[in-house]
Symmetry: C2
């Protein structure tokens, strides 16, 4: 592949929405430039990004946008959508439910008032996270240690990848009381190419 | 199919997130019970719904959740995901961008303060909607009057279906200044099975 056609992932210097993409690209051994912009540079490039957003993956000359859509596209290429249409649906249901959880983090993160932000973090820890993680744990236990069908799918990689910034935001091990989810994380993070990514990735705050 | 196995869509007496599902089910001539619950009944059934949410589609005995995941599953069955992996990705990128727009509606809708709510509605009308709809119009014009690849896909049905509650919320024709999107809506709403649904559906506020 010529350097002009190099895959380029543009995002902030953060894990956030890009980390599941980096997990999938790494897992698939798909070479990519990990292009991290600061807020100033972002405002310069914003008009050239589809709907003014990142992450964007420049892939074979096209600007792909919407992180979950790109994850699913890569997952299809990497045979990570399960064995049939029902499994693909299950992956999608899980990933969209992870997004529901993530929206609570987003809400807390963007709350300007400091006291209210702390209240929202507390509610996250005491109510929201246990609600979702106990649900996820039940599903993983029914599926032999994976989210879908007893095999690795992109739902597993997505979950572990998005957990990175969630845990950084709260400065805690979210999976402490969920041994089955801990084991799933171990399995994902020990996939050789994912492990290689984690061992070499830049350290970021979120 | 026995009556025990009848497909059942559970949601509020509203268009909201369920309307794109109803469009797709109707388009595909997939028989379903349109089960509409009030808030009291919802709280009774909530614990039996996956992650406590609706819409839920009971389909061949399984409780499917996450409206967009279900739409994509139906779309796959109905050959509405485009002709190849790239088109399927384009559908997903569009639908997730429609969700970005929808989140602004959600934010305005759930703002308790009346003045602030009006301010948010005004910003929606003056800034957010023109930003997204002009972007959508450009895409539709490049694709011969559809969102993806010059053919009808679930992105088109999703857009027109979700527009129903957006327009009810704002009490306005959102597409007035977007002739290509108007034409797309006409095409979708005149698909015979969709038209039949629209002509017979219950009238709701949202």
């Amino acid at each position: 592949m010529s350097s002009n056609n190099k895959n380029k992932l543009t995002y902030f210097h953060a894990m956030g929405l890009a980390e599941p993409l980096r997990y999938l690209l790494s897992y698939g051994n798909i070479d990519f430039e990990d292009n991290r912009v600061n807020y100033e540079t972002f405002h310069e490039i914003k008009p050239s990004m589809p709907f003014g957003q990142v992450p964007v993956l420049e892939y074979e000359g096209e600007k792909l946008f919407q992180s979950i859509a790109i994850c699913r596209f890569l997952a299809n290429k990497l045979n990570l959508c399960g064995l049939d249409a029902e499994s693909a649906l299950e992956c999608d249901m899980i990933v969209d439910t992870i997004t529901d959880l993530r929206m609570h983090f987003r809400d807390a993160h963007f709350t300007p008032d400091k006291n209210l932000k702390e209240q929202k973090k507390e509610k996250l820890i005491k109510e929201t996270i246990p609600f979702y993680l106990s649900g996820f744990q039940t599903i993983v236990e029914k599926n032999d240690g994976y989210f879908v069908g007893g095999n690795l799918t992109w739902a597993d990689l997505y979950f572990v990848g998005i957990l990175c910034f969630m845990e950084s935001f709260l400065k805690m091990d979210m999976l402490k009381e969920y041994p089955s989810l801990q084991q799933l994380r171990e399995k994902v993070n020990n996939l050789p190419m994912v492990k290689k990514w984690i061992d070499t990735r830049p350290v970021t705050e979120l």
